[in-house]
């Protein structure tokens, strides 16, 4: 019996969310009295892989096949199922991100395993195998019991703090025999947004709504985001009016985010918007309308004109950063 974690690298390096998933897997393994293995796919160095030991990985299986450098749900599934069977894994963990969400369901169906998508707790073993997740786009939580022998979890990053420890993982090469069918999907073109913090991973987010009046006023939000090291987001009307690109839209029909800090500027706080952001640890609302419903969901509120308040906040952050360097 063991626990296995799928660790996806980004151009040869592991991101923080992968460390968090490995650490989560190690904790789950410990609670079940077993060990955790990690599966790494594609081109990534042994040194990088060994580093996963600092987050609790004892053994890492590595399928060093360059065709796996692009995420492909079929080939990844074959690799993960092969590794899980080799390790006699009873719990399989992937991240609840674009890759994990494409691979985990296939793996679950292949192994006839129940799946919890977007876990935000450790499994409660005293009641079977009960895992907490958000439902109704963050308006509520559900406690889901998996009853199959093998369990699959996609884990929501930014749920538990990452603690770096000591240790080095052993690396074991794993051979997986792929067929042509496994690579039927061919990648024609890749466009990556460089430089910016991806919204889904951002710990700090500055978001603008219709109250910003127009796209020409986004400069002050960009300044604040840059000063904080935050990602930018927006409400649905803003994306629908093409003031901002669609990938910045957060809310029930946009992205769901759970940053440590969400600063909402000129957003009234419709229930659909709140659904996408109410997993944020701290919410600051800046709005000139004291009746804006968002204030009810906020930790800190500023009633005032964004055009005055935001530059003042940016200055205050600058001053703070200089003092705390």
């Amino acid at each position: 019996m063991s626990v296995i974690v799928l660790a996806e690298h980004t151009q040869g390096t592991f991101k923080k969310k992968v460390f968090e998933a490995v650490q989560y897997g190690a904790a789950v393994a410990q609670s079940m009295g077993t060990t955790v293995s990690v599966l790494a796919l594609g081109t990534v160095s042994d040194a990088e892989i060994q580093g996963l030991g600092q987050y609790g990985a004892q053994k890492v299986l590595h399928v060093a096949d360059a065709r796996l450098d692009n995420v492909n749900s079929r080939a990844y599934t074959k690799a993960l199922v092969t590794a899980a069977q080799k390790e006699n894994a009873k719990v399989i963990i992937a991240l609840h991100d674009v890759s994990g969400k494409a691979v985990a369901p296939r793996v679950a169906a292949s192994l006839k395993a129940g799946l919890v998508a977007g876990a935000i707790s450790y499994p409660d073993l005293s009641k079977g195998f009960v895992v907490k997740k958000t439902v109704f786009a963050g308006k509520a939580y559900a406690y889901v019991n998996i009853s199959s022998e093998i369990k699959v979890i996609t884990y929501m990053s930014n749920t538990f703090p990452v603690k770096k420890g000591e240790g080095s993982a052993s690396v074991e090469k794993l051979d997986v025999v792929f067929g042509d069918k496994d690579f039927a999907i061919q990648v024609k073109e890749v466009n990556k947004v460089t430089g910016a913090v991806p919204l889904s991973e951002a710990e700090l987010v500055v978001s603008g709504g219709r109250g910003m009046k127009g796209p020409e006023n986004w400069g002050i939000l960009e300044d604040l985001a840059k000063t904080l090291g935050a990602a930018l987001a927006c409400s649905r009307p803003v994306a629908d009016s093409h003031w901002r690109p669609h990938h910045e839209h957060v809310g029930q029909t946009g992205g769901t985010i759970r940053p440590n800090l969400y600063i909402a500027v000129g957003i009234s706080g419709a229930i659909q918007h709140l659904a996408g952001v109410n997993g944020s640890k701290t919410i600051v609302v800046i709005n000139k309308d004291p009746e804006a419903p968002f204030f009810k969901a906020a930790d800190y509120g500023v009633i005032g004109d964004a055009m005055e308040v935001v530059p003042r906040l940016t200055e205050a952050v600058k001053k703070f950063k200089e003092a705390h360097q």
């Binding site: 980004t10 995420v71 749900s73 079929r74 599934t77 674009v98 969400k101 494409a102 691979v103 369901p105 296939r106 679950a108 169906a109 006839k112 395993a113 129940g114 799946l115 919890v116 998508a117 977007g118 439902v135 109704f136 509520a140 559900a142 406690y143 889901v144 019991n145 998996i146 009853s147 199959s148 039927a184 999907i185 061919q186 990648v187 024609k188 073109e189 890749v190 990556k192 991806p198 710990e203 839209h249 440590n260 659909q272 640890k281 701290t282 600051v284 009810k296 969901a297 906020a298 930790d299 800190y300 509120g301 500023v302 004109d305 308040v309 906040l313 200055e315 205050a316 952050v317 703070f320």
Partner: protein, 247 residues
């Protein structure tokens, strides 16, 4: 080319969520149900566009639900599609939903199966991937663009920090999101036509769930907002540092 579109009825986005029976059931009293927006705006409309362009020959809709799901599937038929299939069972285990659809679809030779990237009620987004595995098809998740020519699909999809364009021979399962197509509103002719379109009820296969929801919970209410004067942004920064500890 035959397309199957998976449709899920979900509570309207403005629904206030409440639970009954000691927090073990979602309280549907007074709740308006709609077609899951991702299924409707992106999967279904793109399928219809492909049919209108002469690429697809048929668009069928499928839902897994009891009789109360029928108004939703009729609404979907009002947008388009020749026929709908309702598999007569209810489950919030995504494995059961996928397996029921797979059981039906495996004998129907669909070239393309489309679903939304997730349903806005249980937010799993796993039915598409499970279906692909069960039907032994390729699967592309989070697609924002889809075209088909000569039996090969070209799909634009979201990847970590960007976008990728893939090509893949059919058959294929695609989960759809924003960018696929523009939302449509059904017209009167569509609504009238939908009334007489075939809606087949298929008995459910015997499939045991692998997971179940034990109970629900609502997020703790915020204790109350702390208001800060607009002149005093230093104080806000100070609170974010010392009290909230987020910067």
């Amino acid at each position: 080319m035959k397309i199957l579109v998976c449709i899920s009825p979900v509570p309207d986005t403005t629904t206030k969520i409440a639970f009954s029976d000691n927090n073990t059931h979602f309280n549907t009293q007074g709740v308006t149900f709609i077609i899951n927006p991702y299924d409707e705006w992106y999967a279904l409309v793109r399928a219809l566009e492909l049919k209108e362009a002469g690429v697809a020959t048929a668009v069928n809709l499928v839902t897994v639900g009891k009789a109360d799901a029928e108004p939703i599937i009729r609404k979907a038929l009002a947008l388009g599609g020749e026929e709908a299939i309702r598999i007569d069972t209810e489950s919030n285990d995504p494995y059961v939903v996928a397996a029921q659809i797979a059981e039906y679809a495996k004998s129907q030779a669909y070239d393309l199966v489309l679903c939304g990237k997730e349903s806005i009620d249980y937010n799993n987004g796993v039915v598409g991937g499970m279906l692909a595995e069960m039907l032994d098809m390729n699967y592309i998740a989070f697609a924002s663009g889809l075209d088909v020519a000569n039996g090969v699909a070209t799909v634009k999809r979201e990847i970590e920090g960007g976008e990728e364009t893939d090509s893949c021979p059919l058959p294929l399962v695609v989960s759809c999101q924003k960018g696929m197509s523009e939302a449509r509103i059904p017209n009167m002719r569509g609504i009238m036509a939908a009334r007489t379109k075939p809606l087949k009820v298929v008995p459910a296969a015997d499939i045991q769930p692998l997971s179940n929801i034990v109970s629900y919970d609502l997020p703790p209410a915020k204790t109350g907002v702390k208001l800060i004067a607009p002149e005093n942004m230093d104080e806000l920064v100070n609170l974010l540092h010392t009290e909230a500890k987020v910067i």
